[in-house]
């Protein structure tokens, strides 16, 4: 398939998106990540029944917190696709990268650089 997607993305593999906790998302931003997106299986197709539904809720919780602390909830997003949808994976990567580039860098990262 040899699909290309932006090389700014670091993939963190998890056994199921249900493994992604709210604190994992927040820590990524605390450490300076500009954006985080969670890619889970299609809703209703979770091998563990509701892992991706839990992830969706946690992403929503992260969005609410990031909005309140001034980082911006739009920097985190949940996507769903099946394992056979490589092109869509690449599309989502481009979509998220463009979104983050439009928003600019994580303000925490800038504040950390200023403080250092």
């Amino acid at each position: 398939m040899r699909l290309r997607y932006p090389d700014t993305i670091r993939i963190i593999r998890v056994p199921c998106t249900g493994k992604v906790d709210l604190i994992h998302i927040l820590r990524a931003f605390e450490k300076g990540a500009d954006g985080v997106y969670v890619v889970g299986c299609m809703e209703g197709d979770c091998r563990f029944d509701n892992g991706n539904l839990r992830a969706r809720k946690r992403v929503a919780q992260a969005q609410a917190i990031l909005d309140k602390v001034g980082v911006g909830g739009e920097r985190v997003k949940m996507f769903n696709l099946s394992s056979g949808e490589g092109p869509r994976f690449a599309e989502y990567a481009v979509e998220m990268t463009e979104k983050i580039e439009e928003m600019g860098p994580n303000p925490i990262k800038i504040a950390m650089q200023k403080a250092a």
């Binding site: 709210l22 604190i23 927040l26 931003f29 917190i65 309140k68 602390v69 001034g70 925490i108 403080a115």
Partner: protein, 222 residues
Amino acid sequence: MIVADKKPIEEIIDMVKGYQKILIAGCNECVTVCEAGGKKEVGVLASALRMYFMNEGKKIEVDEITLERQCDHEYLEEMRNSIDQYDAVVSLACGVGVQFMAEKYFGTPVYPGVNTCFMGVTEERGVWSERCQGCGQCILGKTAGICPISRCAKRLLNGPCGGSTQGKCEISKDLDCAWQLIIDRLKELDRLDEYEEIAPIKDWSTERAGGPRRVVREDVRQ
């Protein structure tokens, strides 16, 4: 368990914004189960506060600790050696824990990170409801195991009232009439004759109306 709900982050930020070094203290008991003040919630709140203050250009240090319980001396004592390095503590325990910490560490401001709500059950994940008001004179044996003090809006001892319609309370269509539940269960247990007994006037002095309460047990007291 004691059920608590998270306070909005803005409220907590407002409480601690004047301090330089803050400790977020969670509790491993009830508030962990109701997902309001356990280790996970401590981590999330601490992370959110760090990001907020960093973004504001303020150098505020936020540390985390989660105690086994905040309502017992032995666990609160674990903080004895480190408490002095903090300007303030945000306790995510119930109101009991917050107060006990404030009593123990008199010179350190302690702020509540949750709103303590009631003694209740987990109906399903994310839904908790009240079951006990600690009235000090339990009558569950006479009411088929369903408490009219905590579950009837009027706390009626001889119910239901005229506001009970199709098993629901008049204050909300989502609220079961406690006395309907009691009658249904007495019927199920074939004890409906007990419903005919008029409950005497309750001694409310053991309830909160009698002032702050204590239990002293000389048989176990040291």
